[in-house]
């Protein structure tokens, strides 16, 4: 049987890549230290496969065909297409894990979920900035899960909690020994391309962290459902943290660091979840 060996969540944001060499040194050091700590913990749990839960930033999908959730089941995916990513993360091909991807897809369908599937995704900065900064080997097979965090209507928080539980169920029902880690990416608050662009809503961010620490799913659901429409649009990516959180059983949240990062326009958050011994 497979086992969940690590669950993590980190922010992303194109300016982390675009401005890495030019942002204030002390700020870059702070970002680097937090990413490095996540990387240290991820590498320590020696995963065989990494499930990465991210949004798609209009790279694979458009409004003529926009899945709520898409699972990448191919044995290979394409690296980031954004020009600013090619300098820092020049991997054109990333490994997939078809066997676990297919099992996750089948588990979803068997449990009345209907995700889209892809045999080859293009993994944009939302996935690849964390992989780059955390120091994930390009040889580590991925199962990408792309969640619509960008265009309304989006999956409910309740459904994201269910997705997290489903990932756990898929791991527990996988027959082969396999060490599975989960990484949610995005958030915390940020505001992109709207009149509040640049706004980092620290009050929202701290409240999110408190809800993850408390672990009460119903209260987390109620909080995010009520507050997401009232803060910057980038906070919709908290869905990816919610999925990671529920995969951990909605317990064991441990904040590695949080700080507003105006240089990258995000409330920068980094977390892992303590898991019971496998």
């Amino acid at each position: 049987m497979a086992s969940l060996v690590g669950i993590f969540a980190v922010s992303h944001g194109p300016l982390i890549a675009r401005e890495w060499e030019t942002m204030p040194r002390d700020h870059r050091d702070k970002l680097a230290a937090a990413f490095d700590e996540v990387g240290r913990r991820l590498n320590a749990c020696k995963p065989d496969v990494l499930v990465v839960v991210s949004p798609d930033h209009w790279v694979n999908f458009f409004i003529n065909n926009l899945p709520a959730v898409c699972i990448g089941i191919g044995d290979e995916h394409d690296g980031p297409p954004e020009p600013f990513m090619k300098k820092v993360y020049p991997h054109q091909r990333l490994k997939g894990h078809t066997a676990f991807g297919r099992h996750l897809l089948q588990t979803a369908l068997d449990n009345d979920f209907e995700p889209a599937l892809s045999h080859r995704l293009r993994l944009d900065h939302g996935t690849c900035i964390p992989l780059w900064r955390i120091g994930v080997s390009p040889d580590l097979p991925l199962v990408p899960i792309l969640v619509n965090d960008l265009e309304e209507p989006m999956p409910s928080i309740r459904r994201c909690l269910a997705w997290g539980r489903l990932i756990r169920r898929a791991v527990e029902s996988y027959a082969e020994p396999l060490r599975v880690a989960v990484l949610g990416t995005g958030g915390l608050s940020h505001s992109i391309g709207e009149p509040t662009m640049g706004w980092i809503d620290e009050k929202f961010d701290h409240a999110c962290i408190e809800h993850f620490e408390a672990g009460d799913e119903a209260k987390l659901d109620a909080f995010l459902t009520r507050e997401l429409p009232r803060t910057g649009n980038g906070a919709h990516e908290m869905r990816d943290w919610v999925i990671a959180h529920a995969a951990a059983g909605s317990t064991g949240f441990e904040l590695i660091d949080y700080f507003p990062s105006p240089a990258t326009l995000v409330g920068a958050g980094f977390a892992s979840w303590k898991l019971p011994p496998a």
Binding site: N64, P195, M197, F204, E227, T231
Partner: protein, 96 residues
């Protein structure tokens, strides 16, 4: 209200560097390949952030003005100039 064709133009520009180069060389000619409404065409040619913003996803809007070569600080300043009562209310909200 989402405008499909201006959204499609922005999506295609992001996906296709050759199209983006053609757009930089002759915006009007590329716009005319899409079913863009006359008032939207005028807004595009005038870099009218305020007129275009309600028509497209906010992330596509950001990508588009990057392709247009507008510095991000200017793009943000133009967005901030649009702040209505609603946007200000959004920013002053209490997350109790």
């Amino acid at each position: 209200m989402t405008d499909y064709w201006v959204s499609k133009l922005f999506f295609d520009l992001q996906q296709d560097p050759q199209l983006a180069a053609a757009y930089r060389a002759d915006m009007a000619a590329v716009i005319d390949r899409y079913e863009i409404k006359p008032e939207v065409r005028k807004a595009l040619l005038g870099d009218d952030v305020g007129a275009i913003a309600p028509l497209v996803n906010a992330y596509l809007l950001r990508f588009y003005f990057q392709i247009r070569g507008m510095p991000e600080a200017e793009f943000i300043a133009r967005l901030h100039a649009l702040k209505s009562g609603g946007a200000q209310a959004k920013e002053s909200v209490s997350h109790g």
